[in-house]
Structures are given as structure tokens and as C-alpha cells.
């Protein structure tokens, strides 16, 4: 049902046309006038007009067409009109009376007029629709109002013409005056609307030329349209349709004339305008990619391609500063050979070097053949005639690269091209710099993530709890620098029950240091199950670690042993900082530095020959300080080093305090020294204090010693 109502127009329109045709035949042969029939005929014709309008609205959809398609449709429609007339002229020989409106004199006239009458309204209404679309290309609030007023006055003028039954005389006498006034008002709106042709401005240059050529033909076609095709036939068919058609035709004519004129005016500047548009477009495109494209590689490709497109030149290429800061290299090119790209003479050319690379100024050489200085450039690429080169300057005013454009014709570039390419290079530099920064920060983030993991691993390797031993107090402080260092300390128990301790510093930083720490901890803990002697322990650790370490890496360490029953502390120093011993009895600070090599420096023989054990007996109140070089090499804002002097003042200053208090004091001293500067290296220290042993503790110790001896006897 719906489909039927949609297509009812295909029944309705032919029916009207047929009835009107029949009425016309009756009038022609009977030579009588029946007023009611005449009125009925006119009503049918209004219906025909309305039906045509509806038909065009429904089946002639121009909204979605592009401008060239719209103009194509218009041309096709008009051509169709001409072809039909041409065909009918050859077939029929119509005759009309000289009166106004003309009357049919024969059947041929009736047939001819009917066909034209059917053809004209859809043609002109469709044309009107196309014009409307073009006019609304750039719509202002008043545009639509003007268009509606134009339609209204077109209707009024046509009605007026119809009722006065007169041709348009353009005189102000009698009944013509009304026609003339209405017509002039309509004309005003036509002209007004005809200036809405902004779509012309934005046409590309080539299309402007094409339209201009087509437009001239189209205009002459339109111009003669009414005279050749419509005039007598249409007026004879229906005065109302004729006058509406005439008004629409006139509008079409005026609009086309103004449009052609505008095209004509814009043609000379079309090239410049074209370039400006492309410049704006490509700069826009580049700016858009600036936000989306973060891969420098892709950006570089885009820059060379777009610059060649915009300048319409033969070759473009981009030279970028190399990572090591040494010289420039062509990283991407359009229309250069592989060999030319690899062997660019530009960085060796004195003029270019001075202007471009040193002064960071753009260079324009209109004709390379003009001066013998440029011979090397022509030798490099023999077609080369004119050259344009602009620097890419970074935010920090650094020359990042150079964008080149080359043409095979002399004087191909002017100053406008230069400023265009400069603007382009400016945008490109920003985009490239951003991309590079993003790339760098992604890299940095990955490194930081890696460091974080390493740092967490390292922290887990440090003892969670310090050993408790009667008569001995221990405190440890470990400060981590921002980067992963390789500081390490641990406590363990020797097979014979003595307390073991190790403090170490792996050379270098980063993840590899952290993994050496992990390995070292494993080796020490394994060896400590079977080895009672710190010296043997260190030697074996060296033999195990050495083959597994990079040659440039090593570990400095102190491996110590404390026997609670006699207060003996013995240790070896494998390349580590000395042990400080504060003797409470005579207020003496001993710096204990027995010979020893770092672990991992040598395979074993030399290590074992060189290393020597050092043993001290701790008396109550004595203090031991073990530390890593992070402490002595602390640096403050004035690049001042913490140094040995301050170090040696630490223990006398804290003597008499508990180790916890002593640790706090040292920590305060460190922070005071650093002020607000961050740590550059890990810093670790262990404080050990022998305390007075009470009677009960002594007994406990004694029994522990007996147990130990028994154990040692059981496991020789």
C-alpha cells in the first residue's frame, strides 16, 4: 500500500498530461471555447506543476552530490531539453497564432507544446534545486529568507502575468505596471542570491579552468534556452507554467553569468590561492599528526612527502642530525637515488654550511647553473636547477635537521615557497622533537621500572632482623640511593656457633649489581654451613664468584666472625673499606686494614696469597664500625666529601651511647651534611658494641660454648 502511494505520481502525472492533451485537441478541432473546461485545464496544469515539484524533490536528490556532480546534472538536463527540441523540430511542423498567448494552429503544435510543457517544469525545478544547494554552500541566516522571498515573488509575478494575460513589457503603464514592479522585486532577489557563489573560491585551480570552459558553453546554452526551446511552445501550453519557467530560467541565467564572471576574476589568482589552500591544509594535516603520530620514523616520511606535494617540486629530502651529534645524514627522501641519498654534497658546500648549518638560515638558490660555486651540487644530481633548503630548529634553538626541496626547472621557487617551507619545517621540528621526547621518556620509564624491580629484589636480600646475642649490641643502617646500588650486608651463624657477618659492595649499579648481590648472598650462606674460618670463606667465595662475573665487575667485602665467649672478632678484608675499632679503655681509634683483594678481581691464587686475617679482642664499651664507601664518598651541595676525617670523628663522639642511639646520631650527622642533596650511592653501616655481661648471661654463654665444642667434636 505504501509503495503504491509512493509511486502514485507515476499514474497521476501522465493522467494529467493526457487529459490536458485531450482537452487541447477538443479546443483545436471544435473551435469553441468552454470556460469551465478552460478553468479545469488550468487547475490540472497547476497540479502538473505541483506534481513536477514533488517528483523532483523525491527522485532528484542533489543534497548528497558533490559540486562537480551537481553541475554535471545541470548540464545533462539542459542538453536533454535541446536534444528533445531538435528531435521534435525534425519530426513535427507546429503552427501557432500570433496572438498572446499563442494558440495552436495544428495537431503538431499541440503535441510539441505538450511535450515541452511536460519537460520544462522538472528541468527548471531541478535546476532551481541545484542552485539552492550551491547558494547554501555557505549559509548565512538571511540566505534562506532571501530564497523563500524569491520563490514567493516568482509565484506572485507568474500569477500576475497569468491574470493580466500579457507578456512582460517592463513598462509602468496600465496593467503592465503591476507585472513590472513584481518582476523587479523578483529580479532583485535573483541578483542578490546570485552573489552567493562562495563555492567557486575553494575550487582547485585546474577545476576552475575546467568550469570556466564548461561554464561558457553552459551559459550560452542557458541563454538560448528560452528563445529556442520554451518561448512559443510553453506559452501556448500554459501561460502560468511559462511565466514560472521564465522566472526560473532568468534566475539560472543570472546566477550562471555571475558565477562565470567570478570564475573569470579568480582565474589569475587561482594558482596562488590554490597553493595557499594546500599550504593551510597540509599545515593542518601536519599539526593533526603532531598530536597523533608519535613515531619519528613515520613523521619523517610524512614530512618529505607532504612538502613535495605542497611545493609541487621534483625531489624533497630530510637530513637529520645523527645521534652522536656528529654530522647530518639524509634519513628520508622522495625521488632521489639510493646513491644520491648516501652521498650528499650539501654538508661540504661552503655556502650552505655557512648559511644553513651555522647561521641556521633558509637558503633559496633560483638557478644552480648561474654560479660555478654550485657546480658540485649539479654534479651530484644533473637535473637539479633550483634548490630550497630550510633548517629544522628545535625548541632549544638547536639545528635538528634540514629540509630540502629541489626542482628540475630554474626559478621554480619564490619567496612565498620559502616562507611556506619554513612554516612547514617549523611545525615539523615541533612534531619531531615531541616524538623524540616521547620515545626517550618511554625508554626511561622502562629503565626505571627495571630499576624498581632490582631495588625490590635487593631490599629483600637484606636481613629482616638483626641477631640478638648476649653481651653484643648490633645496629645497621642502609640508605638506598635513587639508582640501584650494590650494597649488601648479612648475618649468619658458623657451624661452631660463632656469629658471622658480611658487608659488601658490588661495583657498578643497576640490575646486574643487584643480581651479583643475590648470587653473593647465596654463596656466602651456603659456604657458612660448612666453613668456620672467615678467611677460607672469603677465598672460596672468590673462587666460586670469579668465573661467573663480568671482568669489569667485582665485590668488595668484609667477612667477620665474632666469638661471644671470648669477645674475639676476626675478619678478612676483601678489598673493602677498613674496619674502625674504638677502644673504650684507652679512647683509641684503630683503623683495621689488613691486606686483601676484591672478590672477582682474580681467579684465586693471588687472592689467597694476599689476603690476611685480622683479629681484635673486644672489651666492654668497645665499638666496631663497618661501612661501605658510600659513607666516606658522600657529597654535599658544595661538592664537599664526607671524607675520612669526619668518619674517624664519629666513633669517639658516640662512645658511651647505645648502638641504637649511636646510629640515630650518625644518621642525623649524615642528613645534616647532605643538606637536601640526594644520595648518589648506597650507604651502609653496621655498628657493633660489646656491652657489660651480667653473671647470668655469662653462665648462658659458657653453656653455649660447651655445646659448641661438643658439636664441633661430633662433626669433625
Amino acid at each position: 500500500m505504501k509503495r503504491l502511494s509512493q509511486h502514485i505520481i507515476f499514474v497521476f502525472l501522465p493522467l494529467i498530461v493526457f487529459v490536458v492533451f485531450f482537452i487541447d485537441l477538443v479546443f483545436l478541432y471544435s473551435q469553441i471555447t468552454i470556460t469551465t473546461l478552460r478553468i479545469f485545464r488550468e487547475i490540472l496544469l497547476v497540479g502538473l506543476l505541483a506534481g513536477s515539484w514533488f517528483f523532483v524533490q523525491r527522485y532528484f536528490r542533489v543534497e548528497k552530490l558533490t559540486i562537480p556532480q551537481k553541475l554535471g546534472r545541470l548540464t545533462a538536463l539542459l542538453t536533454l531539453n535541446y536534444l528533445v527540441v531538435l528531435f521534435l523540430d525534425g519530426l513535427l511542423d507546429p503552427a501557432y497564432s500570433d496572438s498572446f498567448p499563442p494558440e495552436y494552429q495544428n495537431v503538431a503544435a499541440v503535441l510539441f507544446a505538450t511535450i515541452i510543457g511536460v519537460l520544462a517544469p522538472p528541468t527548471l525545478i531541478a535546476s532551481l534545486k541545484i542552485l539552492q544547494e550551491l547558494i547554501f554552500y555557505r549559509q548565512k541566516s538571511t540566505t534562506r529568507r532571501y530564497f523563500q522571498l524569491f520563490l514567493l515573488f516568482t509565484g506572485l509575478t507568474s500569477l500576475s502575468l497569468y491574470f493580466t494575460q500579457q507578456p512582460l513589457h517592463l513598462s509602468f503603464s496600465g496593467t503592465s505596471a503591476q507585472n513590472t514592479i513584481l518582476f523587479l522585486i523578483t529580479l532583485f532577489f535573483m541578483v542578490q542570491l546570485s552573489f552567493h557563489n562562495d563555492w567557486i573560491v575553494y575550487l582547485p585551480r585546474k577545476i576552475k579552468w575546467l568550469y570556466f570552459a564548461i561554464g561558457i558553453v553552459l551559459l550560452s546554452e542557458i541563454y538560448s534556452l528560452f528563445d529556442v526551446v520554451y518561448r512559443t511552445h510553453l506559452t501556448a501550453y500554459s501561460l502560468f507554467i511559462a511565466s514560472v519557467s521564465f522566472m526560473l530560467y532568468l534566475f539560472l541565467l543570472i546566477y550562471a553569468t555571475v558565477a562565470i564572471l567570478k570564475l573569470f576574476i579568480y582565474l589569475p589568482t587561482a594558482k596562488a590561492f590554490d597553493r595557499k589552500i594546500r599550504e593551510v591544509n597540509s599545515l593542518n594535516r601536519l599539526a593533526r599528526t603532531l598530536n597523533t603520530e608519535l613515531e619519528p620514523e613515520k613523521l619523517i616520511r610524512m614530512i618529505t612527502r607532504l612538502s613535495r606535494e605542497v611545493l609541487e617540486c621534483d625531489s624533497t629530502w630530510l637530513e637529520m642530525r645523527q645521534e652522536d651529534g656528529q654530522g647530518f645524514k639524509i634519513v628520508h627522501w622522495e625521488n632521489l637515488s639510493e646513491a644520491q641519498a648516501a652521498n650528499s654534497p650539501f654538508q661540504r658546500h661552503p655556502v650552505l654550511v655557512r648559511h644553513l648549518y651555522h647561521q641556521k638560515q633558509p637558503v633559496l638558490i633560483p638557478d644552480l647553473h648561474k654560479h660555478k660555486d654550485y657546480a658540485p651540487l649539479v654534479a651530484w644530481k644533473k637535473e637539479a636547477r633550483s634548490l630550497l633548503a630550510v633548517p629544522l630548529i628545535s625548541n632549544r634553538d638547536q639545528l635538528m635537521g634540514v629540509l630540502y626541496a629541489l626542482s628540475h626547472t630554474a626559478y621554480a621557487f619564490d619567496n612565498e615557497d620559502l616562507s611556506l617551507l619554513e612554516g612547514f619545517a617549523h611545525q615539523a621540528a615541533i612534531a619531531l622533537e615531541n616524538a623524540q621526547l616521547v620515545e626517550k621518556s618511554i625508554f626511561r620509564e622502562r629503565i626505571e621500572q627495571e630499576l624498581k624491580v632490582a631495588r625490590e629484589v635487593q631490599l629483600k636480600l637484606l636481613p629482616q632482623q638483626l641477631p640478638g646475642l648476649p653481651g653484643l649490641e648490633i645496629a645497621a643502617l642502609s640508605l638506598a640511593a635513587y639508582e640501584v646500588g650494590g650494597d649488601y650486608y648479612d648475618f649468619f651463624t658458623y657451624p661452631d656457633g660463632a656469629l658471622g657477618l658480611v658487608i659488601g659492595d658490588v661495583s657498578g649499579k643497576g640490575t646486574s649489581a643487584a643480581f651479583y648481590v643475590a648470587e653473593f648472598k647465596g654463596v656466602i650462606q651456603t659456604l657458612a654451613r660448612v666453613e668456620n674460618d672467615p678467611c677460607q670463606l672469603a677465598c672460596q667465595a672468590n673462587r666460586i664468584m670469579y668465573p661467573n662475573m663480568e671482568r669489569k665487575a667485582f665485590i668488595s667485602a668484609i667477612v667477620g666472625r665474632y666469638e661471644a665467649e671470648n669477645g674475639k672478632f676476626s675478619f678478612v678484608r676483601a678489598g673493602h673499606t677498613p674496619v674502625l675499632h674504638w677502644r673504650a679503655a684507652d679512647h683509641h681509634l684503630a683503623v683495621l686494614q689488613p691486606p686483601g683483594l676484591g672478590i672477582g678481581l682474580e681467579a684465586g691464587p693471588l687472592f689467597e696469597k694476599y689476603i690476611a686475617r685480622c683479629t681484635v679482642r673486644l672489651a666492654p664499651g668497645d665499638l666496631l664500625l663497618l661501612y661501605t664507601d658510600g659513607l666516606t664518598e658522600l657529597r654535599n651541595q658544595n661538592e664537599e666529601e664526607f671524607g675520612d676525617q669526619r668518619l674517624q670523628e664519629i666513633l669517639p663522639a658516640v662512645s658511651g651511647k647505645s648502638v641504637e642511639e649511636a646510629k640515630e646520631t650518625i644518621f642525623d650527622q649524615i642528613t645534616e651534611f647532605l643538606q637536601r642533596r640526594a644520595l648518589l650511592d648506597d650507604l651502609t653501616l653496621i655498628l657493633i658494641q660489646k656491652t657489660e655481661v651480667s653473671q647470668s648471661q655469662e653462665e648462658g654463654l659458657l653453656s653455649a660454648a660447651v655445646q659448641m665444642q661438643n658439636k664441633a667434636r661430633d662433626n669433625p
Partner: protein, 122 residues
Amino acid sequence: MAKFEVQTTEEQGIVVLALQGYLDAHTAPEFEKTLQKVINQNQYRIVADLQQLRYISSAGLGVFMGFIEEIREKGGDIRFCSTEPKVYKIFELLGFPALFRFFPDRQGALASFQQDASNQES
């Protein structure tokens, strides 16, 4: 950060590297490159003149350790001279004097290489 520089010269067929400033984790890679370049030219007799060296970190010491094995395999050596006491202390802590020869001045270091050469000949 503190500056580091190294000057490479050749005296009596022996490469002399004059180190200057602070050799730490930041500057070690630069020194590593220099040393690599020397070795790439098949020169294995090297004197490191440390007169102007103000500080050396474990990373700096690592650079010498990284190359010494290869150099000695090729019959060469790295010998140190004119080491400032403060810097020498760092070498000493780690036990470098057991692994490397130190000389009070450049002439001594160069002469020791000449001595080696004449010993080999005889």
C-alpha cells in the same frame, strides 16, 4: 657532574693515557671507549698517568679490570704512574697493587716496559 678527560699520546712506542678529573660511573663509559680504541689498534703496552686524576670509583676501576686480561694475553700490560695519594688509597683498598704495577713517575713506568722488552731479547 664533574668532568673527566683522557689524553692519548705515544711515547717510545708505548701508549700513555693521561687521565684527568673524576672517573666515576658516569664517565667510565667514555674511558672504556678510549681504551677499546687503543686496543683495537693492537697496542697493548699502556701507561695510565694518573697525576691529574682526582677520583676513581669502583666503576672506574672496573674499566681497567675489564681489559687487563685481554691485554696480558697479548703480552701487554697496563701500568700506573704518578698516582695522587688520595686516589692511590682507593686502588690500595681494593688490592690493586697486588694486580698492577705502580710507578712514582711516567719515566719509571715507560722504563719498566723497555726493561721488559730488553729482558725478552736477551
